[in-house]
């Protein structure tokens, strides 16, 4: 863990002292519930309620209320699942991969991104469950001893998905909590309210900032980061297997795993940045989540957006190069068939607009960045829509071709998942430190000894 921080640009701007950093991050938790908070929460709760009503009606009347039907059986619910799982990936990338790469600017945004990972997987988890039609029987997805000695099919990608997503959720939650323990201890020692102190004491587990603990803690953090890195790559790889292992033209391609992972990071960063732009403004964290952070995230969006664009191109090339008429038909149909509108929304939002980030001025201008990343969010939803729907709607039998349209219930449930996500985000910003206090303190100027322990 001995890294030379001496000659790098400061991560925290404005030469804040360590206690000023703590004040800046921790004080919003003690703010009174204000009008803005109430407005934000009521909007997100309204969305959540709309989703809950649509879901309740779907449970009562059955999933015939949705647009799914032959030949498009995997429709918007699966689109939403892949969309939300993808959003989650940015959090683990920031907290684990950037940690292993010693990118210390990650400290300002890691906590928030990890929280978003957890909330996004919660939203994602809803969709495959409700798509089964009877989610209350979801326990059958796990191997359990039964009188038929019947086991789940361990060779099925759908079962891999169950294991991948549930492992990913558990590990992300643990990773997030481990990061929160020292901050809970700091909050415990700051607060004067007895109730808050009890809560923080319980969650801090009695952390004492002891270096004998820090030593193991840092080791555990590195180990966890080491595991979370292949895990995050495996999760979206396995999600892509749901498609790629089938033999359907348009899904049966080996490019899917890297293409899905790149897309996941792309959409995840866009979502993290969307929310952070508001958070840094509302909580006055501009010195900790700086313009440099925004610029670096924009660079990653540019990189992964271009990778996704390459994958779009390569899919067409392989379809032509394979000489397989079914493949060729699917891709031509994708770009110029009935769903041509969705395809070109996807290409323009994901590939064309992010190219503007080649210009430094645009990378560092928040309003323009914001518009571009909103488009990226939209584009990535359409990417999954294009993959799922256009591959299915015209299968091998022209007599069973169809045109899929989502119903109001489909869209209501999607809105509800956004409601759930942002409700959790709003509550998180209110009750927990949105930035890791101890990690940012550790990268502040003058926080580390000048000669790395060689001082005498």
């Amino acid at each position: 863990m001995n890294i030379d921080y001496a000659n790098e640009a400061p991560v925290v701007e404005g030469r804040l002292s360590i206690s000023e950093i703590e004040e800046l991050i921790a004080s919003p938790i003690d703010w009174k519930v204000d009008r803005n908070f109430k407005i934000a929460l009521s909007i997100t709760l309204t969305f959540l309620l709309i989703g809950a009503v649509c879901l309740g009606l779907s449970f009562y009347w059955g999933i015939g209320l949705w647009g799914n039907n032959q030949p498009v059986g995997w429709a918007v619910p699966i689109v939403n699942f892949v969309f939300w799982v993808g959003i989650g990936h940015a959090g683990t990338l920031i907290s684990a991969i950037l940690f292993l790469l010693r990118q210390k600017w990650r400290t300002g945004i890691a906590r928030f991104a990890e929280a978003m990972t957890i909330f996004a997987i919660m939203c994602a988890g809803i969709f495959p469950l409700i798509h089964t039609g009877r989610p209350w029987l979801a326990g059958y997805l796990f191997p359990y001893p039964n009188q038929h000695s019947l086991w789940i099919n361990f060779t099925s990608p759908l079962v891999w998905d169950v294991f991948a997503v549930s492992t990913y959720f558990t590990v992300s939650l643990v990773f997030w909590y481990i990061g929160l323990i020292p901050d809970f201890a700091t909050l415990r020692d700051r607060t004067f309210s007895k109730v808050k102190k009890t809560i923080y004491s319980i969650f801090s587990l009695g952390w004492r900032h002891s270096h004998r603990n820090w030593q193991h803690y840092e080791k555990a953090y590195t180990l966890l980061a080491g595991f979370a890195t292949p895990l995050v790559l495996s999760v979206h790889t396995i999600v892509s297997f749901d498609f790629a292992v089938s033999i359907l033209p348009g899904w049966h391609t080996t490019i899917f795993p890297p293409y899905f992972v790149a897309g996941a990071i792309f959409s995840g960063f866009a979502m993290v940045e969307t929310v952070l732009i508001f958070v840094r403004k509302i909580f006055h964290l501009e010195q900790i989540i700086t313009l440099n952070h925004i610029e670096k995230m924009n660079k990653i969006i540019l990189l992964t957006g271009t990778m996704v664009g390459y994958a779009y191109g390569m899919e067409f090339f392989i379809a032509w190069y394979s000489g397989n008429p079914a493949e060729q038909f699917v891709f031509l149909n994708r770009a110029f068939g009935p769903y041509t509108w969705a395809y070109w929304i996807m290409v323009s939002c994901n590939v064309i607009f992010p190219q503007l980030f080649w210009f430094k001025k645009i990378r560092r201008t928040i309003p323009i960045s914001f518009i571009i990343i909103i488009l990226v969010n939209v584009g990535m939803w359409f990417e999954r829509f294009v993959i799922v729907v256009t591959s299915l709607h015209r299968d091998f039998l022209p007599s069973s071709w169809g045109y899929y349209k989502p119903t109001l219930y489909d869209m209501g449930i999607l809105l509800g998942s956004f409601g759930l996500f942002f409700t959790l985000v709003v509550l998180f910003t209110k009750f927990m430190p949105v930035v890791s206090i101890s990690e940012v303190k550790a990268v502040a100027e003058g926080a580390q000894p000048s000669h790395h322990g060689d001082s005498n």
Binding site: I18, V171, D189
Partner: protein, 384 residues
């Protein structure tokens, strides 16, 4: 100071990371039981405190390998031994297809074991009653100060000497931390047992309610209670009121052998010949089909003693001279075409089944009207 209070240790605070590194170095050369408290991990502190490398990785390794072995062995056992099944042409032990779950379980076991092991085994957490909690020292090191705490358990510990030692190091706010020795309360208090009982009642009641009640109410029961027509029940949907439908006109079943006298009311002059021998298998089949289709009206032994309690006219006995003298083809004609109120059974019984029933009826007739020779044969045990 209270007499019961014991000394936990002596603490001192420092303002910069450089100072604390220096202080830790000096302390570690004199004392063994001491700790450094810093708001974040200070680099170089491991060496300054002369700490051995963390052994946490061994837990990770051990449990990671356990997870991998468990996943592989479990999938091997369930898919190759307990319920072997070939799926997608893969071998029973389809290693490549087992890799994803093996990987996921490795990660899950390793990370959970690392964290739980670290918190409980290495840190002894949760530990909210530690003497350092709620001290000024803790509050300062939580914020922006760097503290050192020399504990009374150290062999060389002597309060005044330690205070002097810390002063020489340049520490400010030197403080002696006291604690009260507490008797650890037994786990089995009334409160805890009540808690256990409540948890037990909630979990078992919840499970019972879910499995026995909740899954049988709307909408959870909709797979079990569908809008459908049960066998033999009436229907208001069809004009004729029957739930069960006749085959569409012109439907030909696979084993159909066309009957030459189909639709003819009178008995034919030259009835067709029974192709089936009267073997044991044929008689068994005939008995089964007779009991299913014929016995409700004709009675179990063909006496015409209907079980339908007058809801349908009783048919004549099958043991009348007329029926006994009929050729097999005459009975076949009645079963196939129907007679009076008896409907045709051609759509429900294949021609072989009809012939088998006829053979069985012949056996019933012989049993009910046995001759002397038959009785002698039965007594000898050589009935043919």
């Amino acid at each position: 100071m209270d007499k019961e209070m014991k000394i936990y240790g002596v603490t001192g605070l420092f303002n910069t990371p450089d100072e604390i590194i220096k202080a830790a170095k000096e302390t570690s050369s004199t004392y063994k039981k001491f700790d450094v408290n810093t708001p974040y991990p200070v680099h170089g502190m491991d060496d300054a405190m002369k700490l051995k490398p963390s052994k946490l990785g061994f837990i990770t390794l051990g449990f990671g390998l356990t997870g991998a072995a468990f996943a592989l062995l479990f999938m091997y056992w369930s898919m190759s031994i307990n319920y072997p099944m070939i799926i997608g042409g893969k071998p029973f032990f389809a290693l490549p297809a087992f890799i994803p779950i093996t990987f996921e379980l490795t990660v899950l076991f390793a990370t959970l074991a690392t964290i739980i092991g670290m918190l409980t085994f290495f840190f002894n957490f949760p530990f909210n009653k530690h003497p350092l909690h709620d001290t000024e020292y803790m509050k300062s090191t939580s914020n922006d100060k760097y503290g050192i705490c020399i504990e009374s358990e150290d062999e060389k510990f002597n309060e005044s000497e330690v205070i002097k030692f810390l002063k020489n190091l340049g520490a400010n706010k030197i403080e002696t931390i006291y604690y009260k020795e507490e008797i650890i309360p037994t786990v089995f208090t009334t409160k805890f047992i009540t808690f256990l009982i409540i948890v037990f009642i909630l979990v078992s009641g919840g499970t019972y309610y879910t499995l026995n009640k909740l899954l049988y109410i709307v909408p959870f029961n909709w797979m079990a209670e569908q809008d459908r027509v049960n066998v033999q029940s009436a229907s208001t949907f069809f004009k004729d009121g029957f739930g069960m439908r006749m085959p569409v006109k012109g439907t030909v079943s696979r084993e159909l052998i066309p009957y030459v006298y189909a639709g003819q009311m009178q008995q034919p002059e030259n009835p067709i010949v029974n192709p089936l021998p009267s073997t044991k298998e044929v008689l068994e089949l005939g008995k089964k089909k007779y009991n299913t289709f014929c016995s409700p009206c004709h009675g179990n032994f063909g006496d015409g003693d209907s079980r339908l309690r007058g809801q349908f006219p009783n048919p004549p006995s099958l043991h009348s001279t007329k029926v006994r003298e009929w050729k097999d083809g005459n009975i076949y004609h009645v079963i196939t075409n129907g007679q009076n109120v008896m409907p045709s059974y051609a759509s429900q019984l294949s021609s072989d089944e009809r012939w088998a029933i006829i053979n069985y009826i012949r056996a019933l007739q012989r049993a009910k009207n046995a001759s002397e020779t038959d009785i002698q044969l039965v007594q000898k045990g050589t009935t043919k």
